[in-house]
């Protein structure tokens, strides 16, 4: 109790320097935790954004572009898969896959992508045990004999554009929206709104693939082409591996106009590998901030040692041991670090919530700021220990205070 009373009084007496030091520790601590958790959760979230598909067949080009365009609904479309190639794939390599869902892109509504597809897309589990579910309304009409100009829209689209069931819209040509642009003549009505899925699908307007292929203004010569084919490989492990390797050979080595993405996850992992340096730089910056903050604790306490020599001498005269004085300073330093850690959690929450909002709005990927991660235990413990460690230097100075010399006031 006594030690804490002494610490509390000192912190209160030096409230400004304590506050500034704690804030700087909080920034370092919050940054460190954020960099770690954002990196971990972003990688996990991106790797999970497969939409339930293992592979993609698309036009010849970058595999990364194909994945970003087909699964994340970002980046430009690398081109088209000819109707002939699409049909050939479906018929000839049926033994390799469970599902092959075509998508076609090329239009948008106020910047939100319109993706043509088949109802089979909604049958796939986009994440283990989770399918795209309707929050309201029903799916669009699409069968062998009929398709309607209807749309199922993602949760974010509905919220951002204020669209509800039976509302109508006219698609705009292109993947990006330009102010003043004239829309297509086709009028679509919203028949269903999806529940939030925490995936990029939340930002997509789904329509029957025929609708996009035959949209007013689109070249009828390409009406049967698709942008990509999302493939769910066979459940059988052997067939799956054999299929992936076979299709890899067939399309990537045996043709010059198609690309087969063997593993969507691997492509996303390679994307993160390319940006690993940035994460490393951020982490080192955070380490540096933490070290500077710890040095701040040292400077903050060390600078008070001269003015506190009389206080220590009085405490010693009252019977406090040298070790008690030493402990007070070490614990005081650790306490400042602990206060910093508390601020660090606030900094962490702000950064994570901002990152979560940005990723959700821009890409549709969800982070989980409140999900515990071991770094949220390790960083605080290390910071407090580090704070205690740097406190040893001023504590040693306090330890050596000469009682008799410092009992009289120094003018």
């Amino acid at each position: 109790m006594t030690i804490w009373m002494i610490i509390r009084n000192s912190l209160r007496h030096h409230a400004l320097s304590t506050g500034i030091t704690a804030v700087s520790i909080g920034l370092g601590c919050g940054l460190l935790m954020s960099v770690w958790v954002v990196n971990f959760q972003t990688q996990r979230a991106f790797k999970n954004v497969t939409g339930g598909f293992d592979s993609i067949l698309g036009p010849r080009g970058s595999q990364l572009q194909l994945v970003l365009n087909s699964l994340f609904h970002m980046d430009s479309s690398p081109g088209l898969v000819k109707a002939f190639d699409y049909r050939l794939f479906r018929e000839k390599y049926k033994r390799f896959y469970n599902r092959a869902v075509p998508i076609a892109v090329g239009d948008n509504l106020k910047g939100y992508r319109i993706v043509g597809t088949t109802l089979e897309l909604f049958e796939v589990e986009h994440s283990p045990g989770q399918k795209y579910e309707l929050a309201d309304g029903e799916k669009f009409i699409q069968n062998e004999t009929q398709w309607n100009k209807e749309a199922v829209i993602g949760h974010t689209v509905a919220a951002q554009l204020g669209l509800g069931i039976n509302d109508t819209f006219q698609p705009y040509h292109g993947l990006n929206f330009t102010e003043g642009q004239m829309p297509h003549k086709d009028i679509y009505s919203v028949t269903g709104i999806l529940k939030p899925s925490g995936t990029p699908a939340d930002r997509v307007i789904w329509i029957p693939i025929e609708g996009l292929q035959q949209m007013d203004g689109h070249d009828p010569r390409f009406a049967g082409d698709v942008s990509a084919v999302l493939i769910q490989m066979s459940d059988n492990t052997t067939a799956r591996a054999f299929g992936m390797n076979s299709l890899d050979s067939i399309y990537n080595k045996g043709t010059d106009h198609l690309t087969f993405v063997k593993s969507n996850e691997d492509v996303v992992a390679r994307l993160f590998d390319q940006f690993a340096w940035a994460e490393s730089v951020l982490r080192w910056v955070a380490y540096l901030v933490a070290v500077v903050a710890a040095a701040g604790v040292l400077a903050s306490i060390y600078n008070t040692m001269n003015e506190r020599r009389r206080e220590f001498a009085i405490l010693r005269a009252l019977g406090a041991r040298r070790s008690t004085i030493f402990s007070v300073i070490v614990l005081e330093s650790a306490t400042i670090a602990a206060l910093g850690v508390l601020i660090g959690f606030a900094v962490y929450a702000i950064i994570l919530l901002a990152a979560e909002g940005t990723l959700r709005n821009e890409i549709g990927v969800s982070l989980h700021p409140m999900e515990p991660h071991k770094v949220m235990l390790i960083v605080p413990v290390v910071m407090v220990a580090f704070g205690a460690l740097v406190g040893i230097i001023p504590a040693a100075k306090a330890y050596g205070t000469d009682v008799s010399k410092n009992l009289t006031p120094q003018s």
Binding site: N9, H13, E311, R316, L407
Partner: protein
């Protein structure tokens, strides 16, 4: 058996030139439990050094300082700290109150390093010295006389057997000095604590039946005087 028994106490300082200078050479001194003794002497006779050696703040170079049956001179620094916390209350001329703390906290600190700090006991002793309505005040918010009363309360808070008072009225006007001295003596008496008070104020010394000149006790001071 006396509460405090000092024999052949020698304390030396190293002078700026490097040679050792004996400032304290007390062949014998005793103080009984509950006894109140005033020490006087001119500047440089080693009054404060004598009290600091008894309190264990300074370590004697030779001799024995036996307090409540334990030899302070042979004890380690940690043991001296503990003996001081357990048996000694120290009142300083400059009060040495901790400025960032309230009166109550100052008194609590006086009882913290041996046993448990007890808020009720601290409040009671503050009430005894007439500061029950100033417990949450900081020293800077009190008059000089009130500050000295807090210092008295802190020194007595742990019910010590020996109270050392180094010029306790030196910073007070005559009215406050008289009151403070009376308070110190009364509170020591109530707590059956012995009092060893150092002063050069004749008005203070006149209040004591036992009054000793440290210059006579301290052979080193006599040497300097020659």
């Amino acid at each position: 058996m006396p509460l405090l028994k000092i024999q052949q106490l020698i304390k030396r300082y190293t002078a700026p030139g490097g040679e050792a200078q004996t400032v304290l050479d007390v062949p014998e001194f005793t103080l009984d439990a509950g006894q109140q003794v005033a020490l006087h002497g001119s500047s440089g006779t080693g009054k404060t050094t004598f009290l600091n050696c008894i309190a264990g703040i300074l370590r004697a170079d030779q001799g024995d300082i036996e307090l409540a049956g334990q030899n302070m001179a042979l004890a380690s620094e940690g043991q001296r700290d503990q003996l001081r916390a357990q048996h000694i209350g120290y009142i300083f001329q400059t009060f040495n109150l901790l400025q960032g703390y309230t009166c109550l906290e100052n008194v609590l600190l006086g009882m913290s390093f041996y046993g448990q700090a007890n808020i009720q006991a601290a409040a009671a002793i503050l009430k005894r010295v007439g500061l029950s309505d100033r417990m949450d005040y900081r020293p800077s918010e009190l008059s000089v006389g009130q500050q000295q009363r807090v210092a008295v309360a802190r020194a007595l808070a742990n019910r010590p057997q020996l109270v050392l008072a180094d010029e306790p009225t030196g910073n007070l006007d005559s009215q406050n000095a008289r009151e403070a001295l009376q308070l110190i003596r009364e509170v020591c008496e109530e707590n059956q604590a012995a009092l060893l008070l150092v002063s050069h104020d004749q008005a203070v010394l006149d209040q004591f039946e036992d009054s000793l000149d440290l210059a006579e006790l301290n052979q080193a001071a006599r040497e300097v005087a020659k």
